[in-house]
């Protein structure tokens, strides 16, 4: 089997067995990036020199008997994570030339574990988008069909892993930005519990919703990386000081006796028929593997999209104020005065979707509208959280589709924000409630992959990963590669 067709776990085993070196592995994937990134536009900044240096260090560590399970594993970071000395754009003209002076905690931890950085991946501008079409650096293409979007906002990481330009990549998920692209390109992607992974060094979109996660060929691979990323960080006050389980060891937990709730609200109008059928088949498969299934209702879930589109823009309108042309980032030429500096630097630096959300957020927080929008949205958010909590009293996992449709055409929804926003209708609930959720491939509609979403209670990553792993042990959807990249 060619190197890139292997899972992360298989690559780790190969490195451990000295079947190939970290440098050879890095070279293999760097070659794939050179060959295919032009068409996919998945990487914004490949870092070949850094990769080879990391790989040489990994090989030296292994020779010295100091290798860990991730030593020598190549990876890519979504360009939302600050990387010391490497350009960090967040998909925006605003940060086109921004070289971060420090590493995000996630970057630091994975680096310390001996991984090899291949580069930074494309994304929707400031993670605002569901198709990767808002990137200042151009759309990312879906490896299954280059005329289709890869989803977003972690579209670059998704496409890069799906085409195996890299075996694993980080992503972030504010309203579905890991799960939805994972679904649209046929890979596995986990958004952990809010607070499980440090947000330090992750450029903020909506602070109360943002969470870093992993996009990989399989749930087992997600488990392998998540253990290293997760854990308390004193630099992030919202990170939770709870022990990190051995996710890999807990993958073996049996599916037998696990109660799966099929969320009624996830199967209503708007769900494309083929996608619905694949997800129902997956539910049946889980049942066949020993789980029990029951229909469950979270009646407030349909309000999650409008709720999200108040909360997230509100927070982003404030978070993005620091991009003012004064200390870093884009500055307009020859400002006449301070107001001109602000207006033109921000006007030129931000794209249309970012501006739309800043304006929406500014509006919902403004005097006279705060109660009607922001405060009301927070109440609905509490309601949704309470409904999830209630659901988890009777089931262990909630199940539904990740996205209402398979990948759609580039340009198809770009002029219709509302339709675009509805892409996240099934994923947003987990963000509003801070719950862990995973998307795994569960079949195809035509040539395009379909994603199955599993949602767990707070800090229930182990069970989610184990259930996904059990499903992947019995199916092979996750092993299929787009023909052009096999």
């Amino acid at each position: 089997m060619s190197l890139h067709a292997r899972s992360v776990a298989e690559l780790a085993a190969g490195l451990a067995a000295r079947e190939f070196s970290a440098v050879e592995l890095a070279q293999h994937f760097l070659g794939r990036i050179s060959a295919s990134n032009g068409a996919l536009n998945a990487f914004l900044t490949p870092t070949p020199e850094r990769a080879l240096a990391d790989a040489a260090r990994a090989d030296a560590a292994r020779a010295a008997g100091q290798a860990g399970p991730l030593t020598g594993i190549p990876l890519a970071h979504k360009d939302i994570f600050c990387t010391d000395g490497i350009r960090t754009t967040c998909g925006s003209r605003m940060l086109e030339n921004f070289v971060s002076p420090y590493d995000a905690t996630v970057v630091e931890r994975l680096q310390a574990a001996g991984t090899v950085l291949l580069g930074k991946t494309n994304m929707d501008e400031f993670a605002m988008g569901s198709s990767n079409e808002t990137s200042y650096f151009g759309v990312v293409r879906n490896p299954w069909d280059l005329s289709k979007v890869p989803g977003g906002s972690s579209g670059g990481s998704a496409a890069a892993v799906a085409a195996r330009l890299v075996p694993v990549a980080t992503g972030t998920d504010t309203g579905g930005s890991i799960r939805q692209p994972a679904a649209l390109v046929g890979i596995s992607g986990i958004k952990p519990t809010y607070g499980r992974v440090s947000r330090y060094g992750m450029i903020a979109f909506a602070s109360s919703l943002d969470q870093a996660g992993i996009m990989a060929p399989s749930a087992a691979d997600c488990a392998l990386l998540l253990g290293t990323m997760a854990g308390f960080d004193p630099r992030d006050s919202t990170s939770v000081d709870a022990p990190v389980p051995d996710y890999v060891a807990e993958l073996k937990a049996p599916l037998k006796g696990v109660r799966v709730g099929i969320v009624k609200e996830f199967f209503g109008a708007g769900l494309e028929a083929g996608t619905g059928a694949r997800v129902e088949a997956a539910a049946a498969e889980l049942k066949a593997l020993g789980a029990s299934t029951v229909e469950i209702s979270c009646p407030s879930l349909p309000m999650s999209v409008p709720t999200y589109y108040v909360v997230a823009p509100a927070e982003c309108s404030s978070n993005l104020s620091r991009f003012d042309g004064v200390r870093f980032g884009h500055r307009c030429r020859e400002p006449r005065d301070l107001m001109d500096l602000y207006c033109r630097s921000r006007g030129e630096g931000f794209g249309a979707e970012v501006k739309r959300r800043i304006m929406t957020g500014t509006y919902v927080l403004s005097a006279g509208y705060y109660d009607a929008y922001y405060l009301k949205a927070q109440k609905v958010r509490s309601l949704i959280t309470a409904e999830f909590r209630k659901a988890f009293q009777s089931v262990d996992i909630l199940l539904g589709p990740t996205s209402p449709t398979p990948a759609f055409g580039i340009g198809a929804k770009v002029d219709d924000p509302i339709t675009m926003y509805l892409n996240d209708i099934y994923t947003i609930g987990a963000n509003l409630a801070g719950l862990p959720a995973i998307s795994i491939p569960c079949g195809f509609v035509g040539e395009l992959p379909v994603g199955l979403q599993l949602i767990g209670p707070h800090f229930g990553e182990s069970r989610l990963l184990a259930a996904a792993h059990a499903y992947q042990s019995a199916t092979d959807f996750h092993r299929r590669l787009p023909a052009a990249y096999a």
């Binding site: 420090y102 006050s237 919202t238 927080l365």
Partner: protein
């Protein structure tokens, strides 16, 4: 106090005091807070608002705020929340200031002020909340550009908001001084007004006496000395009364005090005011303080100024106002007590010590512009002088000269007294001899006195004192002189 200009008008003032908390590091980052460092040398990535960085609350700032709350009888909130105050300014790196809005850490306290005429008044403290300071914009020496120094950005502030309970500039100053004293007692703020560690915004309005509704207020920004606060308020009150008496109305606005011109002038009107779009900061968890935390903070409270003043009044027999003056700072109060202990002499000694500490001692400090710690006469030395007064070695008048000599060259009182032969004459024989000589030299005055001109008694005291270089014991001299002059 009646003020002609305010006749018929009631002045209503509320103060917002910003006290910079004396933590070693900033409120949300590990950068140092020391004053006067090279620009931007104390600003790390968090202070600079870099992409991706996050705030982490300094626990010491929370303890200091709680201390202030307990010292003012306020509620230390079991749960308080940080909020973002959004506005753009070059020295505000994130485009928002982290502050507390709907749920401050301290609510509903009060302080009692004591005015010079002895009246006491309780001033309500609506709230005190934690927030971060902004940086500074620098314009001097930069042609066609502005510099930004972010050393101050992220310095912890406690904003102390009073009720509109103050009725004159004098009350406002008394209150401000009281807060100033308190924060230094609590060691939560160095109180340095020149460096901006303690500054004040004043909300001022006037209304006709008896009017139920408050007048429209103006906020005077950032006045950084007691004297300027008083002048700014007085100017503003006079301005508002003039406008209203001229048939005009007051516009709610923010005004700036110009010390050079001694006037306030408009900065921005209510219409121009920012909509700050406050909302809870999602990067910070609510601050939850349990009873054990509050009890632990309470245990660290020192004796507070009011308690100390009451004890001084009770134990040392001081007037309330004097006790207030002596307890205005912890250092002065400690100095005074050290003098009292070293002097001995019970209530008489304590009273004498009070007069000297507030009088000559403070006078010399002021004259030389010295801090208490740099005083040229220490507590033990001053007590040594007071003991010589109490044991009648020298008179109070001579003591002033001795003190001046001590201050000048650092000698002890006894050394000065010996070297200059200032020891008081208590030998009645010597005093009698001096009296006899004066009587002999002034026969006319003697005759006049004996024929009923009692006023001349003072003349004879003066002459004898002159003859003895002021060293005759005054009580003894009085007694002997009366006897000798009697016909």
């Amino acid at each position: 106090m009646t003020n002609h200009a305010t006749d018929g008008w009631e002045v209503v003032i509320g103060l917002e005091i910003h006290a910079q908390l004396a933590t070693r590091s900033k409120i949300f980052s590990g950068s140092a807070t020391a004053y006067g460092a090279a620009p931007n040398s104390q600003a790390n990535l968090v202070d600079l608002g870099y992409p991706g960085v996050l705030p982490v609350l300094n626990a010491e700032a929370v303890r200091m705020a709680a201390k202030f709350g307990l010292a003012t009888g306020a509620t230390v909130a079991p749960r308080s929340v940080f909020a973002r105050k959004n506005y753009f300014y070059p020295d505000l790196p994130k485009g928002y200031q982290i502050s507390q809005y709907e749920r401050p850490i301290v609510e509903d306290g009060s302080l009692e002020i004591l005015l010079e005429d002895g009246t006491r008044k309780t001033i309500g403290i609506t709230r005190a909340h934690l927030e971060e300071d902004a940086g500074k914009s620098l314009h001097e020496g930069l042609a066609n550009a502005s510099g930004i120094d972010l050393n101050r950005a992220g310095t912890p502030l406690l904003e102390i908001v009073s009720e509109p309970d103050l009725r004159s500039a004098r009350e406002a100053i008394a209150y401000m001084k009281k807060v100033h004293t308190l924060v230094r007692y609590l060691e939560i703020c160095d109180g340095n007004m020149q460096e901006g560690s303690f500054r004040c915004d004043a909300n001022v309005s006037v209304r006709r006496f008896g009017a139920a509704k408050l007048g429209t207020r103006c906020e005077i920004k950032n006045v950084n000395s007691f004297r300027y606060v008083e002048k700014a308020i007085n100017f503003e009150v006079a301005r508002q009364i003039e406008v209203l008496e001229g048939g005009g109305s007051i516009t709610q606005e923010t005004r700036l005090y110009d010390a050079a011109k001694d006037e306030t002038r408009p900065m921005r009107s209510k219409e121009e005011a920012n909509d700050y779009r406050y909302f809870p900061d999602p990067d910070l968890l609510p601050v939850v303080l349990d009873a054990a935390f509050v009890a632990a903070v309470r245990a660290t409270l020192p004796e507070l100024p009011d308690e100390k003043a009451a004890r001084f009044a009770r134990d040392y027999g001081l007037a309330a106002y004097d006790a207030g003056v002596l307890t205005a700072s912890r250092e002065l109060a400690d100095f005074y007590e050290a003098v009292v202990v070293a002097t001995g002499g019970g209530a008489v000694g304590a009273k004498l010590a009070a007069n000297w500490v507030m009088g000559d001692f403070s006078g010399f400090l002021n004259r030389d512009g010295l801090e208490l710690a740099a005083a040229r006469v220490g507590a033990r030395s001053l007590a040594g002088l007071l003991q010589r007064i109490l044991d009648e070695t020298i008179s109070g008048k001579i003591a002033k000269d001795v003190f001046e000599a001590m201050w000048a060259d650092g000698r002890e009182a006894d050394a000065v007294i010996e070297a200059q032969g200032l020891r008081q004459i208590t030998d009645s024989g010597a005093i009698e001899a001096a009296i006899a000589a004066v009587m002999a030299a002034n026969p006319k005055q003697l005759a006049d006195y004996r024929s009923g001109k009692d006023k001349l008694f003072g003349f004879f005291v003066g002459q004898v004192m002159k003859a003895t270089q002021g060293k005759a014991n005054p009580a003894q001299l009085n007694e002997l002189l009366k006897k000798k002059l009697a016909p």
